[in-house]
Symmetry: C2
Subunit: 259 residues, 2 copies
């Protein structure tokens, strides 16, 4: 990264994105919004998209009225005070429950993300009885990012990158931050092994969560509230390492000292 560090980044919220419904052509909607806002992507731009609109377009809803909780879900619901049907959906999306306490369930999502409630959203989910319809993460966020990227590249004739982001809590620190849950067209993890500092010493820090830092930067413009800002364009970055999806960011349970 050092040889190509940019002097300036410009990060712009994409205005005019309507409420997204299942089956919507998200790439076309985003393309139209970018073009209308004079934000037509250029080479090396990164479009950061909230996972919520990707999930909505993919119809990743579950109506809790249709869910029958299993015995493990009933047990975990009792221990946490959560709706057993919601707990059932969380368990269906997860490969392991790492921690729980009243009001909180932290799992390893099937895609390897460690997060509360398997990333399932109850807010900003319209339709049905409030709280009865919940929204899961995209089925395969790296693939969603790749598909969006391909469509945007075809439309605009440039090489860009796409990140699908979520707001995720952390060990040790309060507050959520933006993280990448899907990415295409950039190295999600930068590998600096072999690079040297200006004293000629090899760098102590050897990998950087590049896509996560971009997601955090973008979420400064997205906010958590009325969800009017589900897409943000980041302009000015450059990179020379090969593309790697978000799976490169996931530390396996064997290497992880904190799960």
């Amino acid at each position: 990264m050092p040889p190509t560090l940019p002097p300036t980044l410009t990060i712009s919220a994409v205005p005019g994105i309507p409420a997204i419904e299942p089956g919507d052509e998200l790439a076309a909607i985003l393309s139209d919004a970018l073009a209308a806002a004079a934000l037509a992507p250029r080479d090396s731009d990164v479009l950061v998209v909230s996972h919520k609109i990707v999930s909505k377009a993919e119809g990743r809803y579950v109506d809790l009225a249709t869910v029958t909780p299993s015995p493990p879900a009933l047990e975990l619901a009792e221990a946490t005070g959560k709706d057993a049907r919601l707990v059932q959906v969380i368990l269906s999306e997860s490969s392991a429950v790492l921690r729980h306490r009243p009001g909180l369930i932290i799992v390893e999502h099937r895609r390897g993300f460690v997060m509360a409630n398997a990333g399932i959203d109850q807010s900003n989910v319209s339709g049905g009885t409030p709280g009865e319809r919940v929204l899961r993460l995209p089925e395969n966020p790296d693939a969603s990012a790749a598909a969006l990227r391909a469509a945007l590249q075809a439309r605009f004739g440039v090489r860009l990158a796409v990140i699908v982001c979520d707001s995720v809590g952390r060990a040790w620190r309060n507050g959520v931050v933006g993280l990448a849950i899907g990415a295409a067209g950039l190295p999600s993890l930068l590998d600096l092994r072999g690079e040297r500092d200006r004293e000629g010493r090899e760098l102590k820090v050897t990998t950087v969560g590049f896509a996560d830092q971009i997601a955090s930067a973008a979420e400064l413009l997205m906010g958590e509230g009325a969800e009017g800002r589900p897409a943000v364009l980041v302009r000015g970055l450059s990179w020379s390492q090969p593309d790697a999806p978000v799976t490169a960011l996931l530390r396996g349970p064997q290497e992880d000292l904190f799960r």
Copy 2:
């Protein structure tokens, strides 16, 4: 945050900052560099500064030749394969060792940060035998940020914020990201309790690591290499909540399920 979400952020590396030595007037050096680059701060700008130049100006070096390891340091050095004198400095900076394995020591720093090696840097530390001089974090990063802020505000006659950042590893994910270790003039943690989404539901996400997201955005321009980019100006943010230092971001051991 939602009522004042900005449409665009501009993030600029501050060029022309020389190598910093103990006793240097960092605020004056940064002010001159900002002015020379036509980046004179405006109201609500956030200046993000690498902890390294703050530590250097504060003379936070330790010469390992002067360090005598204690029995616990010798034991931990044996278990991890690290220099026992470095381990002694790590222990002196820490309130607890959380995990260790060969090549890795993760501690709770005296200021409450969970990080490898208590944030001690061996790279980019000039002078003496290579590797013999190490650099600790600033003594009190929130206070360092507040002092820098006061000096910059006096110089430029505006209200700005200052963040002192570090690149820190994480549970569950590969790669470091920029985090705030000191802050002044902004709410390090945004509290969204009581805010509602556009369906009128109370937000599930209630706090946001605002200063951490800004630090991650800034580190996209800082890089990890030749350290030519120790200061970055973030323009376009706004906030309405009261200032809170980085201590607001630190989850106490009692509340933390992962230590």
